[in-house]
Symmetry: C2
Subunit: 518 residues, 2 copies
């Protein structure tokens, strides 16, 4: 195909496009292709070497930094962000690729414990590259045949693990917050399909329930979907972070007595801060009794369904009306990989969100248009994220996924033991999952008696230690307050590249960075 490749060097090849396009402007030619594919290939090849060196090798090398901290002002200068009329050479662009990686945080590093995602999963990473290269959108079978079927296969397998023997329906979304929003949307639609058409104006005051430890996305959904945040009733949790079923029942009664109509309960399987699991089975009893939609936010904890040892944490999830579960968290699929699953298999998801666009969802196509899943979505374009999970699942098998979950939880327990053993560290609570929350008391604070002075001083420790770890680049761990608790560290253990040594290192390093504080 000489018209698309002519063997020019990569440096001149893509650049020639400019000359060609000048010719177009001069009215000279629409005769030939304007893109030098050979040059493009070479550039992609070179860039891939950069990516493997910088974002795979160096990013996972424990002897490298987790991050190279610069303030926003410094980093703006280093990156030279301004977009200009003229372009830049490929070698300049490759340098920019290196810098983008260099100054980014290395979330794949064995000492990154800052979020509910971490680590490098090579199969999923490759799948995500393929998704980018294939560049399609998951609205119709016609333009995304492979990914449509893979999404279906992954959803089915996830539903099997949830225990929905008769199947259900589902959709991958750009994040767990959107999945939780789908639950609220479907619950409303099941309650009163007319609201889709006529709006909320004549509806009774519909309210939902979530625990004080539930993710903030329920509140965001309430705001966005027109319920209002005050129509989210917050149910107290016990000292382990689990929703108290009796308190839920009380809140439901309270809402009724205030003239509201209870609609949905969000139970959390794996809370963001403590990794706590709400007692889904007991909550399901209450939902049945009151005919409420039960949504389980298992974005973080869903992975335990793969583990025979730990799946008891989600007991009762099979009774849920819907489940949100993010394989991009504990299971390490590339960002984002986030499923919303619904037990209904009579088309609720599609009826709730469909708009029947004639330019996409023609009904006179030559294949079975039930494979055109796009109208189930509130999006139009949608990424085929399920492939990131499908490929790694094929490579590793359920057995290996199970072992990874088991290992992560074993590591978290090891860390908790170490925290309890060490002077100056105090565990907030025994971890139920992979979140380990603890305080570090510098020596100067250790003789101060329990009380407001100690807690005030302790509150300032974690932010300073965090600043120092970022500036050293030695590790990354989150910190936060919770209720009236002063700032503590929340460390999340996921990455199977992490060993005991890394966890020991973290505790030593916290002490090194914070021991002078007073």
């Amino acid at each position: 195909m000489e018209q698309h490749m002519n063997g020019q060097s990569p440096e001149t090849g893509i650049r020639n496009l400019s000359k060609f396009c000048q010719a177009v402007r001069d009215g000279l030619t629409l005769e030939e292709s304007a893109v030098e594919m050979k040059a493009a290939e070479c550039f992609i090849h070179e860039a891939m070497e950069v990516i493997i060196d910088e974002a795979v090798k160096k990013a996972t090398d424990v002897q490298e930094k987790v991050c190279e901290w610069h303030s926003p002002e410094q980093l703006k200068e280093l990156l030279d962000l301004e977009l200009k009329d003229g372009g830049e050479s490929d070698s300049k662009i490759l340098q920019r690729c290196k810098n983008a990686i260099r100054y980014s945080v290395k979330t794949s590093h064995p000492r990154f414990f800052n979020q509910l995602f971490a680590g490098l999963e090579p199969y999923s990473m490759v799948a995500s590259f393929i998704i980018e290269a294939v560049k399609t959108s998951l609205y119709t079978y016609e333009v995304a045949p492979v990914f449509t079927l893979m999404e279906d296969a992954v959803l089915k397998k996830m539903m099997e693990l949830i225990g929905w023997d008769e199947g259900g329906d589902g959709i991958f979304n750009p994040g767990g917050s959107i999945s939780n929003m789908y639950a609220v949307s479907l619950a409303r639609y099941r309650f009163c399909p007319d609201i889709k058409e006529v709006g909320f104006y004549d509806a009774p005051r519909l309210v939902m329930f979530t625990s004080q430890e539930g993710h903030y996305s329920i509140s965001k959904a309430a705001a966005l979907l027109g319920f209002g945040t005050k129509n989210v009733y917050v149910v107290p949790s016990d000292n382990r972070g689990k929703m108290i079923p009796a308190a839920l029942e009380e809140k439901i009664e309270l809402a009724r007595s205030e003239g509201a109509v209870p609609l949905l309960v969000n139970a959390t399987a794996g809370t963001t801060v403590f990794g706590a699991f709400d007692p889904v089975d007991k909550i399901a009893d209450i939902c049945e009794r009151h005919s409420l939609w039960l949504h389980v936010d298992a974005c973080w904890g869903g992975a335990a369904l793969l583990s025979n040892e730990h799946k008891h944490l989600l007991k009762g999830i099979t009774r849920a009306d819907s489940v949100a579960w993010n394989p991009h968290k504990m299971l390490m699929a590339c960002l984002q990989c986030s499923a919303f699953l619904v037990k209904d298999k009579m088309g609720l998801l599609q009826r709730c969100h469909s708009a029947k666009a004639s330019y996409l969802f023609q009904q006179d196509k030559f294949y079975d248009v039930s494979y055109d899943t796009g109208d189930k979505s509130v999006q139009c374009s949608r990424k085929p994220d399920a492939f990131k999970f499908w490929l790694m699942w094929k490579a590793l098998g359920s057995t290996e996924l199970e072992r990874r979950v088991d290992k992560a939880l074993a590591m978290a327990r090891y860390l908790a033991q170490e925290v309890k053993k060490r002077e100056g560290f105090r565990l907030l609570m025994e971890p139920e999952y992979a979140n380990v929350c603890f305080w570090y008391f510098p020596p100067a604070l250790r003789d101060i008696p329990d009380g407001p002075e100690l807690w005030r001083k302790l509150h300032t420790v974690a932010p300073v230690v965090k600043e120092r770890m970022m500036k050293t680049g030695s590790m990354m761990i989150g910190y936060q307050t919770h209720g009236d608790k002063p700032n503590f560290f929340r460390m999340v253990v996921i990455n199977p590249q992490v060993s005991k040594k890394d966890l020991d290192f973290v505790l030593n390093e916290i002490h090194n960075l914070g021991k002078d504080l007073r």
Copy 2:
């Protein structure tokens, strides 16, 4: 770092993980890293070769097929989708990668004209690979310093092109539908901030306006956000597909007379089917007169802002309150790259959507937390999509982007000329942008006089030609009905790899595939 790499061959290396994890289960070791990074590197390397060969070289080669059609049933067998307990060898997984690409539609192929995206943009593709490899989420500066600043730089430059000299605010989203939803959400919040907290229950009936040619996402937003689809008033368009300003004014009066409160007008710059531009300037006059939020859905047409020759199409956009603009469409950034921009710079976006999660948005951080942009979003995790546009913009410069837009529109005009010249083809209307809509009349239909019989027969032509082109794999073009118009082809010209020859080929091929129809 011998603990993370020990030089094993790639084939055995990653697999060893299973043995290691078995050891973990047996309680033997948490002593060492469980991931063979060396093996992972080798696998990623091999997979990249596959991606470059199959998804770059072959996918853009005009002599290869655009798609290899299989029915869902056939393809399920070919892909062997089932997820099992056991894993598979790396060589098997590489074969699966090849198959995933092989059976996917080649949207980068010079004869793919089926959607509002197309073509391969090498710089953006590399940026998207980096995003996947770096694996982070855009909620805090702390975990996404580089991408936070790049998003800001891209948004600023886009606002400059819109003509908001004093800046504004914005956010990249997973698709234009979500951006349009943000506009509706912000308009509601500006109208009455209390709705965020108390919900829609006591609100007046708020209504919005969009043209009959506007994208269905406005209707989806109305359903999801609790307005109800019937509270979207559909404004007639003229025979070019442009909203009729006088008709908008009538609809606003009608809504008022029905007791509704007009809130927002959605003007479309580049409609999905015809590529028509609503007269934004005149619509802005009306919005000012009635104090309505003016949103411009420029997802498709925004690219014309880069062209001195064509930016007149968006005259008046600077008066908009908000704009949606997808660089992943005409400008060929990788999917998805989709910006929502708002003229307000007093924090409306953040106030409207914030939930102030304490585990993410600590206020006692050691850097300026105004760089933590995550609370502007309805999502929690969010992909750093702006980088896909930033890197290609740096590489090409605004001048080259302008030339690409000009070339695409010149190509569309060439195609329209050819359609008019050729026997058996009829243009629906002169293209204003890159959408060329036309009918093909097989010889047997050419002598049938205009009327119901002709239109009924014509209606069946495009679906059959489409089926045949998919099965031949020679090209991909969309078809659809519109109002009472029988099925026609909608061809979208974006990809600068496309030459006149490819457009000539398409028209010849339609004739070849359809000439026997009667």
